[in-house]
Symmetry: C2
C-alpha cells in the first residue's frame, strides 16, 4: 500500500519528461534549474532513478527516461491534469490558482481513485490550460494551441481561448457566432491586410481582421 515512488522521485521524473519533450536530451543543470535545486542533488537522484530502471544514464553523458520512466511520467501528468480539471470545473477555482494544489494531489497513489475521477469528470481530453490529459494507458492526443494567424489553411480546429478579454472583442465574436468550443477552419488568407476568411462548422463563412485573429486561440490534433 506504500507508494511505489516517493513524491520527490516523481517530481524528478516529471521534470525530466518535460525537458526531454522540449530538448530531446536532458542535462543535469537543466533539471536543477527546472526544479530549483542543486546540480549535486540531481546527480544523487539520477543514480537512484537509474537503479530503479527508469532512466538511461551514464555519468557525464546526457540522459533520458526509458519506456518505463515515460510511463511513470505520463501517469503523474494524468493525475495532475485531471485534478486541475476537477478544481476548475467542480470547485470553481481559477486556472491560475490550481497548479500548486495539483502539485500535491498528483502524488496520491490510488489508481482506482484517478480512474473514477476521470469518469466523474466525463473523461476530459484537455486540462484548463488546454494541455492534453493522458488516458489510463498513458495515451494522449497532442493538440497544438495557436492563434488563428498561425492555423494552417483547411485545418479544422476548435476555439480554446481568447487572448484579449475585453467586452468589445467578445461582442464581435459573439456576433460572428465564434465561442469557446466552436469548430472552424481557415479557408483563405489575404496577404494585403492579413485578414482571414473562416468557415464556421455547420454555419456561415465570416471574415475577421488580423487584430481579431491574433486574439483567438485554437487547438487541433497533431498529424
Amino acid at each position: 500500500m506504500v507508494p511505489k515512488y516517493s513524491s520527490s522521485r516523481e517530481n524528478y521524473v516529471k521534470a525530466i519528461f518535460h525537458l526531454q519533450e522540449i530538448h530531446g536530451t536532458v542535462t543535469t543543470n537543466d533539471v536543477a534549474s527546472e526544479m530549483q535545486t542543486r546540480p549535486a542533488s540531481v546527480t544523487d537522484m539520477l543514480k537512484k532513478l537509474k537503479a530503479q530502471k527508469l532512466l538511461l544514464y551514464e555519468k557525464y553523458k546526457g540522459f533520458k527516461l526509458n519506456t518505463e520512466g515515460r510511463k511513470v511520467a505520463l501517469q503523474i501528468i494524468r493525475k495532475h491534469r485531471l485534478w486541475e480539471f476537477f478544481l476548475v470545473e467542480k470547485l470553481r477555482f481559477g486556472w491560475d490558482e490550481v497548479h500548486e494544489i495539483a502539485e500535491e494531489l498528483e502524488h496520491i497513489s490510488s489508481k482506482k481513485l484517478i480512474d473514477r475521477l476521470d469518469e466523474f469528470l466525463g473523461f476530459p481530453k484537455t486540462d484548463p490550460h488546454g494541455d492534453p490529459i493522458p488516458d489510463s494507458q498513458g495515451r494522449y492526443t497532442i493538440s497544438r494551441q495557436v492563434d488563428l494567424l498561425n492555423l494552417p489553411v483547411n485545418q479544422i480546429a476548435e476555439v480554446s481561448s481568447i487572448g484579449d478579454q475585453s467586452v468589445e472583442i467578445l461582442e464581435l465574436l459573439n456576433h460572428k457566432h465564434i465561442a469557446l468550443g466552436t469548430r472552424l477552419e481557415v479557408k483563405k488568407k489575404f496577404a494585403f491586410d492579413n485578414s482571414l476568411e473562416l468557415k464556421i462548422k455547420n454555419q456561415s463563412t465570416v471574415t475577421i481582421s488580423e487584430h481579431v485573429a491574433k486574439n483567438v486561440f485554437v487547438k487541433y490534433d497533431d498529424e
Copy 2:
C-alpha cells in the same frame, strides 16, 4: 507554501487526539500500538511536537494535546472525513474502501481546497461511517451511532447504516419504509420478545423484531 506539519507529524497528532477522546490521557505505548510503530519512535516525535507547542508533555508522565494541537487534529479529521464523503458520494466508492485513500488525501495542505470541497459537497454533517465532520472552525456535533435495541425510547434518530447486507432484510425494511436517512423514534419496547414499535417520522407506526432491530443502526445528536 510548504506544509506547516509533515504527514508523519499530522498522523501522530491525529492518533493522540483519537486516544485522548477515548481514555482522557494518553501513553507512549498506546500511541505506538495505534500507529504500528515503536515506543522509542513515539518518544522522539513527542519531543518534536512539544517543541512545536502542540503537546503538553513531561517525560515519564502522560501527555495530551493542548488547544493548538486539538485544533490541528480537528482540521485533519475534517479533511479526512470530507474526502471520504466525496469518494462515496461522488466517485461511488464503497465505505469499506475509502479509508486508505483518505489517509493520503487528508495531508493535502490547501485550506481553500477543503473549504471549497465542503461547499461542493453541500456542507455534510457526517461522513459515510456516520462520524461527524468538523466545520472550518473545528466545531462539530457529536452524534452517537447505536442499533435500534439501544436507542432510548422517544429519542428521534436517523437511520445511518444497516448491519446485515442481505437482500432479505433490505426487502423487509423497504416494505416498512425504512431506508438510510429515515428519521424515526422508538415508541415502545416489548420485553417478551424484544420487539419494538417504531414511529416513522411523518409516516406510519410499525413493529420490528429483535433480529431486525439489531441490524439497523441510527445516529442522533448527543445532549
